[in-house]
């Protein structure tokens, strides 16, 4: 990653509030191309609000947001659409359209942006996207209600990948998965990043995910990013919450596992 390269996401002086409640105040953030960028923070520190602001679901009170070098705030819908198709979003519960099968869910963005691609090719595209996201061969014809939570998230990833995005937003991808499923999901994210050259913006609570796949991590607290860096860099900081987070019993356990895996490798 070249240091001088333009960041893929740049957030400057972001301010968000709901009524009297201040969520962000003067939040700055840069995400570099090709990295897996983790966002952590206690409950209520506005991780999801940050993501919603970047993808344009939440209008911030103040601040600048640039994605792919293009300003996102105050853009009209038509222009924003062209930026929007260059990213994919996985919501917490998968947010699949419940009246469509998994394959049809994946075809929705394709139909929306590239009408006229014949059905056969669309089916083929849906099939390999489903397979890429690690779902079994019968998943394509199923409705979301027939899938388990983990499968729904994988189907959500497949839909997020439908238009070959350069940037993938993931909101707590491993929440609610069993440890084996969560580890497999981490692996999937790594594979997709390496195979497709994605940049990943990831909100998580999962310490194992942070150790296993994140290149850099931003810590949200006190309405802003209080620290940003790799895990060793964060550990070196003297911030109460960061210390409690990474050096708490769960943090230590995750660190030990990560060390062991590195030794094995």
């Amino acid at each position: 990653m070249a240091g001088g390269e333009q960041p893929i996401i740049r957030v400057c002086g972001l301010k968000n509030s709901f009524g009297d409640q201040l969520v962000h105040d003067g939040l700055d953030l840069d995400v570099r191309r090709g990295e897996i960028f983790g966002v952590v923070g206690g409950s209520g520190t506005g991780k999801s609000v940050l993501m919603r602001s970047i993808i344009g679901l939440q209008n911030p009170d103040e601040g600048q947001i640039e994605v792919f070098g293009e300003p996102m705030i105050g853009r009209d819908e038509e222009e924003a659409k062209h930026v929007r198709r260059r990213w994919g979003v996985l919501f917490q519960g998968g947010a699949l359209f419940s009246t469509l099968t998994v394959a049809e869910n994946i075809q929705v963005p394709i139909r929306e942006y590239y009408p006229g691609i014949d059905q056969e090719l669309q089916d083929e595209i849906a099939a390999y996207k489903i397979s890429m996201s690690g779902l079994g061969s019968d998943a394509g014809a199923k409705y979301p209600s027939e899938l388990s939570g983990g499968m729904r998230k994988r189907a959500g990833i497949a839909r997020a990948l439908a238009l070959d995005p350069e940037l993938l937003f993931l909101d707590e991808p491993t929440a609610g998965l069993d440890p084996i499923g969560a580890a497999a999901f981490d692996q999937l994210i790594l594979e997709l990043r390496d195979g497709l050259g994605l940049t990943v913006f990831l909100i998580t609570h999962d310490l194992d995910t942070l150790y296993a796949i994140c290149d850099r991590i931003a810590v949200l607290a006190d309405h802003k990013v209080v620290a940003l860096g790799t895990i060793p860099e964060l550990l070196a900081l003297d911030h109460e919450w960061i210390q409690a987070y990474f050096k708490g019993p769960r943090g230590r356990a995750a660190a030990r596992i990560a060390e062991r895996e590195e030794a094995d490798a």
């Binding site: 083929e124 996207k129 397979s131 890429m132 394509g140 070959d164």
Partner: protein, 369 residues
């Protein structure tokens, strides 16, 4: 820079070489995919050295040439190679379509499924009613388990909050009946019988039926939605685990409140119909209120009121039971809550009207004409 994915073909050493150039992305593959299908040469070589950008859809096309026609790929950069490999790995047999059913089979299947649902619902409702009776028995034996507060709260929601809308609706119905009746009866010079029409239909049918429809729409649906969402959030299960019977704590207060309030609401509605009709008679037919009230007392027999008072609690029982039953049947997802709520209202109103017909025959045969 070319933005389209173009290709040129020439023959080198007996092999057909396709030289792709430009952007090999989803934007251009539709045309390309058709053009490639037209090439019938064997021994293909695909040269990617002039491709500027490639996404997975482009890689998929290249992979298909390799897979189906034994094409040889040359000139791919490392990233492109990686992308094609990634797509190749993802090429697994995959079912993307539901199995097709012929219309005949589908219709037959739907009829069968609906029949099963109807029978299952009737059976379930009966069972639900039975367990409601058992809970009622338990509450009678242990009066301390009676939740007075819950019942009082339902009184307010089912009854007090409905007063305005039921009153307004039946008042207007009264005016409509009076006006329509007067137009017809005027032809025989029998306008005065408008009062008979209003008084008797209001006391016997309109009041209680209108009330039942409104209560089914307001409260039956609310019961289904409330219990349904409690079922979804596992509140009902938590209740059971703690040892509280949902039947006693949730269903009984709702059913009891509806059963007790329906006669009151029904009577109130009948009176409102009569008032609405009376105002029309006064303003339009010049029948003074005193005469109107006196005529009403003469033509409406007491048995008409008894009919309303007998029917109302039964209707209330049906509406509340259907609402609570449907609510308790919710499982799975939030969509189910909406479906069950609709079913509760439809079922409630349907059963009320069917039963009303039976009541009409019954009351006639015992001489309450």
């Amino acid at each position: 820079m070319t933005v389209t994915a173009d290709f040129s073909r020439n023959v080198e050493e007996g092999r057909c070489v396709l030289k792709l150039s430009g952007n090999l992305t989803i934007l251009r593959v539709r045309k390309l995919s058709e053009q490639l299908a037209e090439i019938d040469a064997e021994d293909l070589t695909v040269d990617l050295s002039e491709v500027e950008r490639m996404d997975t859809v482009g890689a998929w096309l290249v992979h298909k040439l390799e897979r189906d026609r034994g094409a040889r790929i040359v000139g791919a950069t490392k990233e492109q190679q990686q992308l094609i490999e990634h797509v190749t790995q993802a090429d697994q047999p995959m079912k993307v379509k539901r199995e097709y059913e012929t219309p005949l089979i589908r219709v037959l299947g739907q009829v069968g499924a609906s029949t099963r649902i109807v029978i299952g619902t009737l059976y379930g409702l009966l069972g639900f009613f039975g367990s409601l009776l058992i809970s009622t028995g338990n509450i009678i034996r242990h009066p301390r388990r009676l939740r007075i507060n819950a019942i009082a709260q339902q009184f307010e929601v089912v009854g007090v909050h409905a007063l305005f809308i039921i009153g307004l609706m039946t008042f207007l119905v009264g005016i409509v009946i009076a006006q329509q009746g007067a137009v017809q009866l005027r032809q025989f010079g029998a306008e005065i019988y408008t009062i008979n029409l209003i008084g008797r239909s209001a006391m016997k049918e309109l009041g209680v039926l209108m009330t039942a429809i409104m209560v089914a729409g307001r409260s039956g649906s609310a019961f289904a939605a409330q219990l349904g969402s409690m079922k979804l959030s596992e509140e009902v299960d938590a209740m059971r685990t703690i040892g509280v019977s949902p039947m006693e704590a949730l269903v009984f207060p709702r059913v009891a409140a509806t059963v007790l309030l329906m006669p009151l609401l029904g009577f109130y509605a009948a009176v409102m119909v009569i008032i609405g009709g009376g105002i029309f008679c006064w303003l339009s037919l010049d029948i003074p209120p005193v005469t109107y009230v006196q005529r009403i007392r003469e033509v409406v027999p007491m048995t008409d009121l008894y009919q309303t008072l007998v029917k109302a609690p039964v209707f209330g029982m049906i509406i509340a039971t259907a609402g609570c039953y449907q609510g308790m049947q919710v499982k799975g997802n939030a969509e189910e809550v909406g479906l069950r709520t609709t079913t509760a209202v439809v079922q409630g109103i349907f059963l009320v009207i069917v039963l009303d017909a039976f009541f009409a025959v019954f009351f006639t045969s015992i001489g309450w004409t």
